[in-house]
Symmetry: C2
Subunit: 597 residues, 2 copies
């Protein structure tokens, strides 16, 4: 039994056109002015078709077959149908959707790219990792590449002829890149000989394209130790000259693929570099800085992955809840002519469904809002506006990455639970979502790393600039609707929470000055607390936007009732996170290490 997927176009369109008013936004952003609603609608429609018809049917086979590795040839074969789907993706012009026109892309804003990406990932999370990694490489090459590098490497990636990867992790270091050991020795022709072993390289080897462009972190001779001695190199699988001509095999070889909990259609590779020819990109010893260029986009993209897998799991759980007959409603039979009532009559089934619906739609509104900020940051002609957008998106990125992926785990698990014992059976497809979702809160920086990024860097080091901007907007929204009867069930609570958010941030800040361990002790609870308030903001705005829109009364009612559920039943989780973070570092550090077990 293959599960179904229908692209949630109505909600995506509501977010774009009613909530975020992207038509107004694009009208004033350079390069977006000609982007009409009709064009955007057409892109979304086509992406929906491609996702539903081509990618979604390959989701199950991707999990069952997984990727296979041939030890002799060191080649990876992707699941049946994956390569053909990639060809269709390239033929459809999707590879360069948001890439710069100068490199052959279509130059569409990220705000359009994001929902396309969501649909692709809902349809097939594993397949979606191949283009995702190309997107990251595109960013790095676009920003840091020399002209010849853009010609030689960026253009074939944007066209989809080649794909890209990011090679950071080594066996002894993932989070702690300062420990990495891969070496880069200068060659006489200006290139470098790269030697080392990278692990967990998503899409590191596959059968989609003839060439794969690895972006590899390595150390130059005499590089300073730690993170300040890391440089970034372009290391293609097939050698590429400065003239862009592809030569023979480079000394880059896949050493194996990982057997994983899920995401089995995505090849997670060990990649061995054995004196491989590589080209320095960006400044020497500033490789981590160059990597960080991609980080915000990549982290937002993983947040969208979480949203995407939750959406598909929810759709199937909802169908099952409507079809599966089991027990009678506690308040009396709702469908007396049938042998039992459908699951959806039961209170806790509804709680599980509404938990998913509210986290997904709230997460989508927040995620797409962040996408508009990326576009403003990169395209606005007003430097102050661009800087402001950058601060906001930089603040929201760890929240979106961590919370939407933690939510994905919760939602996929609830969706499975609705199926009961049938959810645990592979044939029904629900357990795949739970397994696939689980990686999203780990890779591209774990929830723990996101939380340290938020509280340690974005709050402490940057003096909470992003939070202040976010709260200013929130305050303006509350002020604007202060006398709006129809929002009176949301606005006062939102305002109270905003005030509390600032206060607890200041309290934590003071504590952290006295003891830096206070940051780590509070970070994850602080992030989740922040996330729930950010989603509450998204929900209040969604209700306001729906009411003001031309959407149907049903649509408006669904938004309002879902928001009401969220405020009543999920937002109180902030109480638990608040208490936990206020407990302070002593609650974690008083225990001597030896006494943990």
């Amino acid at each position: 039994m293959t599960t179904n997927y229908t692209a949630p176009l109505a909600d995506i369109r509501f977010d774009l056109f009613d909530l975020l008013e992207v038509e107004k936004l694009f009208a004033r952003l350079p390069g977006c002015g000609e982007l009409t609603r009709e064009t955007i609608d057409a892109v979304l429609d086509e992406a929906a078709k491609f996702s539903e018809a081509v990618l979604a049917p390959l989701n199950e086979v991707g999990d069952r077959q997984g990727c296979t590795f041939d030890r002799t040839s060191a080649e990876v074969t992707t699941p049946k149908g994956f390569k053909r789907a990639y060809e269709q993706y390239v033929e459809g012009g999707w590879a360069g959707l948001t890439a710069p026109e100068a490199a052959g892309g279509q130059g569409l804003p990220e705000t359009v790219g994001a929902p396309v990406k969501e649909m692709i990932d809902s349809a097939n999370l594993a397949w979606g990792t191949y283009p995702l990694l190309s997107h990251g490489a595109t960013e790095a090459l676009r920003v840091h590449g020399e002209d010849w590098q853009k010609e030689a490497f960026l253009k074939p990636i944007v066209s989809g002829e080649w794909t890209g990867t990011m090679c950071l992790t080594e066996a002894h270091c993932g989070t702690d890149l300062g420990l990495l050991k891969t070496r880069a020795e200068p060659n006489e022709d200006g290139s470098h000989a790269i030697t080392g072993t990278k692990i967990f390289i998503t899409a590191g080897e596959h059968d989609f394209t003839e060439n794969i462009v690895h972006l590899v972190l390595a150390r130059l001779p005499d590089a300073p130790p730690g993170v300040k001695g890391i440089s970034l190199f372009i290391v293609p699988k097939m050698r590429v000259g400065r003239d862009g001509a592809m030569g023979g095999r480079n000394a880059v070889r896949c050493g194996g693929i990982e057997h994983k909990m899920g995401l089995k259609g995505s090849a997670t590779c060990v990649i061995n570099f054995d004196g491989a020819q590589g080209w320095l990109i960006g400044e020497a010893n500033r490789g981590l800085h160059a990597m960080f260029t991609m980080m915000n986009t990549a982290r937002l993209a993983v947040g969208l992955q979480g949203l995407a897998v939750a959406e598909r799991a929810y759709q199937n759980a909802l169908s099952y809840a409507r079809e599966r007959l089991q027990m009678r409603a506690l308040s009396g039979a709702k469908f007396p002519a049938q042998p039992a009532d459908p699951l959806i009559v039961h209170g806790d089934i509804r709680r599980m469904l509404l938990t998913q619906k509210s986290l997904i739609e709230g997460g989508r509104a927040l995620g797409l809002y962040a996408a508009t900020l990326v576009d403003i940051q990169h395209r606005s002609e007003d430097p102050a506006e661009a800087t402001r957008a950058e601060a906001l998106v930089s603040f929201l990125t760890p929240i979106i990455k961590a919370m939407l992926t933690e939510n994905a785990n919760e939602c996929a698990s609830l969706a499975l639970q609705i199926y009961g014992g049938h959810g645990y059976i592979a044939d029904n497809g629900m357990e795949q979502y739970a397994r696939d979702a689980r990686i999203t809160s780990i890779y591209e920086g774990t929830t723990q790393i996101q939380a340290l990024d938020l509280l340690g860097r974005k709050i402490m080091q940057q003096r909470g600039e992003g939070l202040q901007l976010f709260l200013e907007q929130l305050g303006a929204f509350c002020a604007q609707h202060a006398n709006d009867e129809s929002l009176s069930e949301f606005i006062p609570e939102l305002g109270t929470l905003a005030k509390e958010w600032m206060e607890v941030t200041q309290t934590l800040g003071k504590r952290a000055v006295a003891n830096p361990d206070e940051i780590g002790a509070a970070a994850v609870d602080y992030l989740m607390y922040s996330g729930y308030i950010a989603l509450a903001d998204a929900w209040a705005r969604s209700v306001a936007a729906a009411d003001a829109s031309g959407q149907s009364e049903d649509f408006k009612q669904a938004k309002r009732l879902t928001a009401r559920f969220y405020f009543a039943r999920l937002l109180p989780r902030t109480r638990a996170h608040l208490a936990a973070m206020q407990a302070g570092a002593d609650s974690l550090f008083a225990m001597p290490d030896a006494l943990f077990g």
Copy 2:
């Protein structure tokens, strides 16, 4: 890389001898009086050895190989080593550990059986399902079997020569057994011809033993519809006469095994009965009643499964947190001579570890307390005490089943998270725990069913008798320690929560009278809320018991600091659950079904 397991004997012994004072208890329970501490220690030591040395090494292979089904012979082959381990289990006399002596068992109390079971399940959750199902069948035969049935069926199960199953679920009904269709037609010899298909039959077919005794729910001709027309039958795989002699094959055939998310070493079977010879056990049309006899024990056993898998995941996460070097402590390098500090210096790693530790040890204390209640219920010579114990355990059973298994999912996920990307890789073993744990909150009644049992039956129908008894004990404990300086950090809060628990129960009760849907709307939040308070009670008692014991200062300190963590950082989750359940049915039922998606 196989993960490790060391039986947590120190904590088990603390719970039994210091917290629960089982020596005093056994001294006054019939049939337990000769059970000395030395005997119990010896049983625990042997169980630890068997679990660590025989079962634990088979955990990984069980997951990798899974069970295989031969379509031609309809036979199931268990993973390599499973059958030999079962032989050793039988040789070691474990099969009849808690079974009645009259049936050839050793008659040990459940309070000793429970930690043995925990160790077996930690070592190998999938393997442990085979004896678990025998335990359930033993209970049904012991209580409801006629003398000849006990001779013919119970004795070979108790000796381990045969195993047992429980056949409830059919494709269209799991929770809603009233819908079941399997038929039982009377034969002339007093037996019945059983016809129907059962699914999700754990240990339904395997290669451990020559015979398998199925306990099957079916309908007699003219049986009333619904749950009042269900009878229970003994249907052996190999026919067995009234004289106990084994004959040829019965018309019972395995139709296939399920491919599942986890628990792959446990055969989950489709069992086809095609006019199979079966024997009515207990009264006609009272089969569900007979099944409920086993239910409390089976549900407590699944709660222990949750505890068990969490314990092993925690042990490995803790080892990894001590060994894996990554980043420096925020407050400065703790191991400057090493290239980085171990994970355990980081605040959120400690939070994740202490979350696991406090949920596991608190859960163990609560679970073993329930086991003492089962023994008192079944063995006490004081009818009032037995009745009281029954009410208490009946109240605690859904809490333990649901909460310890929900905790298992949380703990296994946190343990995986501590491994970072390496946790997602099959070779490292952590993802197996997450997959295995996931079934525990589904089978033997989902968390939703446990919650309805708690709030609908144990609170509403039984007027909260169990809760009142629990709160009386809690109140007595608080009163006893009211002036105990060393417990002043726990007692007042515990007392406040107990009062609130009673109040919110009364409020929900009133609401539910007006609208039965209020029960379903609040049930899961009410159960989790209750569970967190029950664990707080267990933690406060654990600190008091540790302080009063001859345990080491380190042990006492570890208990106190873990309890402090629990009260500060996990107990506040009651705030979120309280708010959610107080939101009422309208928060779930106002949304029209059509607007969910």
